[in-house]
Amino acid sequence: MLKYDIVVIGGGPAGLAAAVEAKKNGADNILVIERDRELGGILQQCIHNGFGLHEFKEELTGPEYAERFIDQLKEQGIEYKLDTMVIDISKDKVVSAINTVDGFVNIQARAIILAMGCRERTRGAVNVAGTRPAGVFSAGTAQRFINMEGYMVGKKVVIIGSGDIGLIMARRLTLEGAKVLAVTARSPYAGGLTRNVVQCLEDYNIPLLLSHNIVKIVGKDRVEGVYIAKLDSKKRPIPGTEEFYECDTVLFSIGLIPENELSVKAGIQIDRNTSGPIVNESMETSIDGVFACGNVVHVHDLVDFVTEESRKAGKSAAKYVKNELKKDGPVITNKAGNGISYIVPHKIGVENLEGKIDLLMRVRNVYKDVKMVVKADGVTMKEIKKKHLLPAEMEIIKIDSDLLSGKEITELSVSIEEV
């Protein structure tokens, strides 16, 4: 059996940053396993710019951002395997993987970092009525076809859902000569970042239909059109408002789901709200020595945040293999209060804190002129005034370790309150 101190599953931005950081923190024997044909994950198909503003203070494309980490990985001599699929993780941290060169391999790891990323929600998951012709794609699949394989997926396109990938693809398809007829959003606001609405739709005069949704797909062999209806305040289609859009292609950009089949198989506890593992301050899951980071834990807006979170996981895994990660100290449970859908991490082992802890969270609705209130066992610890809160934009609250250490706090809650 092969033996490694740390096995990182996934060679996308999360896995790369975690591996590099683990190495920097003294872990030596590290293996990154990637199922695709190249490192970098989904970044490789994100050829638009806008990556790295936080991390590098400059705007990079996805492949450029990935390359910086791939270069570091190679400089540090970290081993990796491409075109290799992990098919099982056991509780005692044996990773089973296959590829065409090594065949079936079992790898004993001392620590594992899960960085499998996420997948797209599909048309099937949202149960759109109509036929099942060619020309229905999830936005990311279309992006791969166009940007990596070099093929166009359609000429007249309607994009359902206004997540960032949908917005980016509206621009991309337009630049490739396709006509994007409309982008829909179920909510009265866009699902993606504001900058993407401006740069990808408004700059190209692509209509954004707020509070609209697809109600039917038409076409036997290839898509011939879609019906789109206006939604009421409960997001139900309003009868009589259906309009037909003649098109040959429909893209669905309706959300991402952390890909945790391996985690579930290994018996790791999953949070129903994030669909990712429950993690602590060190990004450690419910299984000792198994860490997780990036979109496999919860879906991030920016790769920069993925990088930061993954560094934490990498550093913690390095500490773990050096037996420096503390286990038995006091633990604070984080609770998503009014208006908050989740908080990552879910738990804080106070003794492992260094300086500060970032609480990453999403709000449930659009809020204006409110405050986010952090309470320790019901006592207000921190208040942050907010002009605007959007579910599409992740909120980060930084808490100083001094406020938590030695205070015997059991629960930390965040909620939204009127000013």
Partner: protein, 493 residues
């Protein structure tokens, strides 16, 4: 001239073809679509009924009772997954228990083995996720689940291995009488055959009317379904039927043979024989009806929904007989539920009919009932996986990460007889795209493999029918970029 032309490559047509391939006959299957198993066979409840339901004295009752016990051997020979998981017809009132008893009595008459009327307590023991208001049920342990399209595909393959020909994209346009048989004009040329077996599903009336005055009509009866992720597959352990009432048969809940959960169907008579659209009102109806049986169906795990058409004949019973007006023309029509369960028995019976017409059929010495085993990588032990990849490294590359399907498996099913030529064809045979990502990740890779193995350009790869191309062209020509890139590399060196 062919001895027999079978029209329609659904589960009826392909199983009949396989039965006929036991004899010294020149047989051809004509299929209007781009693949076998593309009509009713690909979208139904996928259940092998135990057989208590259809009335004693009907073809449905007779052939269901005969067909059910044949599945173990058949599926074993054809290497098609089949599980006898049993079924329950659940009752919510004393009145419904009366119906349960009637079904039991009907089953006794038909000789259905091991039927049992059980009480509510036993039901909740067997199926803890079902409604607590259930007062009793009819338990039929011989009911099973199978993948109907896999069965049809496997039968087509085995029939072809034994000499049967298959012509896809050959829609029958006209049939005329010629000396010693019939001339069949198709969208892909004419053929002649002594005998015709009409297995055209919802089009069986149309085909029959080419040789005879109309004697029956087939109405497409649409049913819509939800398919849920494997994580929801153990919501129930057996096939759960609702008690038939004046309001209809109700919807069923069942695990599929691959471990997903299936919920449906509703029932709606329609005009258009191609209409397999799902509709939101009907889908809500299915959901509401299923709620009565089980409140714990996790609809957030739905991975897709679909609709299928049952071939509802006038008279309501299977029509399996030689046409009165057209000698040598055998109808296998109106094969609605329990058609799948009855199909192996129907196939044997059709051979008897043809023996009656032809006088005698000679058995072949070299008929091989065994289909070459399909490698299902996911089901192998670790040692077997290791061994297999050593022999053929293509089994070491996972293409479908939801179902862990390897490149080796996909290549294999492309090169078999009646092999896959389309993305949906690959999906139906070996499941990439069937899982929770619905082909989002593996779609481009599957297309690449199809193109490579069939020696066509990737832009020619279709989803299912001939006009269902997936790619519409190339992005901006990047050949210049490649040249420039090479120059840059050279300069830098």
């Amino acid at each position: 001239m062919y001895d027999v032309a079978i029209i329609g490559a659904g589960v009826s047509g392909t199983l009949i073809a396989r039965e006929l391939s036991r004899y010294e006959l020149k047989t051809i299957i004509l299929e209007k679509d781009n693949d076998v198993s593309n009509g009713t066979t690909k979208a139904n409840s996928a259940i092998i009924h135990s057989g208590y339901d259809a009335a004693f004295g009907t073809n449905k009752g007779k052939f269901n009772a005969l067909g059910n016990p044949m599945f173990d051997k058949l599926c074993n020979e054809l290497d098609v997954p089949f599980k006898r998981i049993g079924s329950l017809v659940i009752a919510f009132s004393d009145e419904e228990m009366e119906t349960i008893k009637e079904l039991y009595d009907n089953g006794q008459k038909l000789g259905i083995p091991n039927l049992e009327v059980i009480d509510g307590e036993k039901v909740s023991e067997m199926e803890p996720n079902l409604s607590e208001e259930i007062v009793g049920a009819l338990y039929a342990p011989t009911a099973g689940i199978v993948n109907p399209w896999e069965l049809a595909i496997a039968s087509a393959e085995n029939a072809m291995e034994n000499g049967v020909e298959l012509k896809i994209n050959a829609e029958v346009i006209d049939i005329s009488k010629v000396e010693g048989g019939y001339k069949i004009s198709t969208s892909d040329g004419d053929i002649e055959a002594k005998y015709i077996v009409n297995c055209a599903g919802v089009y069986a009336d149309k085909i029959h009317n080419m040789v005879s005055a109309p004697t029956f009509k087939i109405t497409p009866r649409k049913g819509q379904y939800y398919l849920l992720d494997k994580s929801a597959g153990n919501t129930v352990n057996s096939v759960i039927f609702q008690c038939p009432t004046k309001m209809g048969k109700g919807v069923l809940i069942t695990p599929t043979v691959h471990g997903n959960l299936l919920v449906g169907p509703d029932s709606e008579d329609i005009e258009n024989k191609e209409d397999v659209e799902t509709t939101s009102d009907r889908m809500s109806f299915v959901r509401q009806s299923a709620e009565k049986s089980c409140k714990k169906i996790p609809y957030r795990e739905v991975i897709t929904s679909f609709a299928g058409l049952r071939a509802e004949p006038t008279g309501g019973d299977f029509i399996i007989e030689e046409s009165k007006e057209a000698k040598g023309f055998v109808n296998v029509a109106g094969i609605k539920s329990p058609g799948l369960s009855a199909s192996p028995a129907i196939a044997e019976y059709v051979v008897e009919i043809l023996k009656g017409i032809a006088g005698k059929l000679n058995k072949k010495d070299d008929f091989n009932p065994i289909r070459r085993k399909v490698i299902r990588f996911e089901e192998l032990s670790n040692e077997e996986k290791a061994e297999l990849i050593k022999k053929d490294p293509r089994y070491g590359r996972i293409i479908c990460r939801c179902e862990n399907i390897t490149e080796g498996e996909i290549v294999d099913i492309i090169h078999r007889k009646a092999g896959a030529t389309t993305v949906d064809g690959v999906k139906r045979r070996t499941r990439p795209g069937m899982g929770r990502c619905q082909g989002g990740f593996c779609g481009p890779r599957v297309m690449e493999i199809i193109a490579r193995e069939l020696g066509i350009d990737i832009s020619e790869v279709v989803k299912s029918e001939k006009n269902s191309k997936i790619i519409t062209g190339k992005t901006k020509d990047n050949s210049v970029y490649n040249e420039v890139n090479e120059q840059v590399v050279t300069v830098n060196e």
